[in-house]
């Protein structure tokens, strides 16, 4: 017992000695020696996260729930292997449909997370960013599976494990995003199939579109459905584009209206108010709802996103 106590007090004294030495080294700038000595006396981070890091960034990987399907087992294994090869693997969280990603990310930000990688598809991408776009982290995307992966194409990120190279290269672009109805974040697109409405742009002019039913689209990261060919996206110009086109009527209406009726109107805006005559179906970043009024205001802060060379902007 006495011997054990003596050993313990000796170890304590030794560690005290090393700590004093460390303090001296801190003052003298011997950082490398500090690291090795701190490891020897067990002063590693007490965090349970055990993050593997590249540079100074901690990586958090958010896996969508559909990836638990055995169909994706091999793909996920390959992705994780590639991430380890690149030394950028980190903490992983499997999301459920009830998880609030913002709370999770904020919690991990306190533990040094600076990069959040969404592993999933378009739905996962939108679900996470519509809540967490304003957080002070860099986002990345690993698209998994062939279905519902249009944003990956826009961002220039290849599917599955090939995306890891893009994540590793860390080419970061700042993207515009907006707030919709002062609630959720709006990142990609908004679509209204048919509505009569009045539009107020940037509090400087109003457009009256009540004499006809219009198809409406707001584009940021996806082109409007009726203007997809040779469309140039501008998600970094500090404004958003809104497109109006007379909604397709019956065959008779099309014949009577002729070619002129199909002309598209385009406005650029920073803040817009759409006032529908009657509540209309609105699809905003994949979420469907009936709305009578929508406000969209572009955020001053931009979204930091890891993109590939093949991006479409």
């Amino acid at each position: 017992m006495t011997k054990a106590l003596l050993r313990s007090s000796k170890a304590h004294l030794d560690s005290e000695k090393v700590k004093k030495e460390l303090q001296f080294l801190i003052r003298s700038g011997g950082v490398k020696t500090i690291t090795s000595k701190s490891k020897r006396i067990g002063l590693e981070s007490s965090s349970a996260y055990s993050l593997e890091r590249k540079g100074t960034d901690g990586y958090l990987y958010l896996y969508d729930s559909y990836l638990q399907d055995p169909e994706y087992k091999n793909i996920i294994a390959n992705i994780e292997k590639r991430l380890r090869d690149f030394e950028i693997f980190g903490k992983t969280i499997k999301l459920s449909s009830f998880t609030n990603p913002k709370v999770l990310i904020e919690d991990d930000m306190r533990h040094g997370i600076k990069t959040v990688i969404i592993v999933g598809n378009d739905d996962s991408f939108i679900r996470i960013l519509s809540r967490a776009a304003d957080l002070n982290v860099t986002f990345g995307f690993i698209p998994v599976g062939q279905k519902k992966n249009h944003f990956a194409e826009v961002l220039g990120v290849p599917l599955n494990e090939k995306a890891c190279e893009v994540i590793s290269a860390r080419k970061i672009e700042k993207l515009d995003y907006a707030t919709i109805n002062e609630k959720n974040f709006f990142i990609c697109y908004l679509y209204i199939p048919a509505a009569r409405l009045k539009v107020q742009c940037d509090e400087s002019f109003t457009a009256d579109l009540r004499q006809d039913k219009f198809e409406i689209a707001i584009a940021n990261l996806l082109p409007p459905p009726f203007e997809s060919q040779r469309f140039q996206l501008h998600p970094q110009d500090g404004q958003m584009e809104i497109y109006f086109r007379p909604a397709a009527g019956g065959m008779l209406a099309n014949l009577m209206g002729g070619k002129k009726k199909k002309q598209i109107s385009t406005f650029y805006f920073k803040k817009i108010l759409l006032k529908m005559e009657k509540p209309a179906l609105v699809i905003a970043d994949g979420r469907e709802s009936k709305e009578a009024m929508i406000t969209i205001e572009i955020n001053k802060k931009k979204l930091a996103m890891i993109v590939g060379k093949e991006r479409q902007f």
């Binding site: 002019f205 579109l209 040779r230 469309f231 598209i264 109107s265 385009t266």
Partner: protein, 138 residues
Amino acid sequence: MSDKYAGQAGGDVETIVGPSVKVEGEFVSEGNIIIEGQVTGKIKTSKQLRVEEGAKVNADVAADSAVVSGEIRGNMRLTTTLELTPTAKVYGDVTTKTLIVSAGAVLQGHTIMDESEKSKGKSGKKSEGYDESSVAVI
């Protein structure tokens, strides 16, 4: 963007007011503007304005240049060129460096050819396109 517009406005179209759209207020853009519907208020752009046939503009206009085929009621101030096609109707004062008026176009108002600006830069451009047109200033 459609090829039609890209070709017409130098591939840099930004704002389009379609035929069945009415706009009211201060319409300011950093890019080209094409109007096919109705605009009331003010129009300002540092690039080109096109007012298509059938369009009605009830506004003062400030632009780098303009090609008018529709109707404008208001004063126009262009930095470089105003071109009026055969279907154009302009009711208001015009200030421009170069004016091109096709036969059939109507221009009612004072026209000021901004000599002082012209002498600074692109002098001699005035005569371009004049051979087959007539000028109607009432």
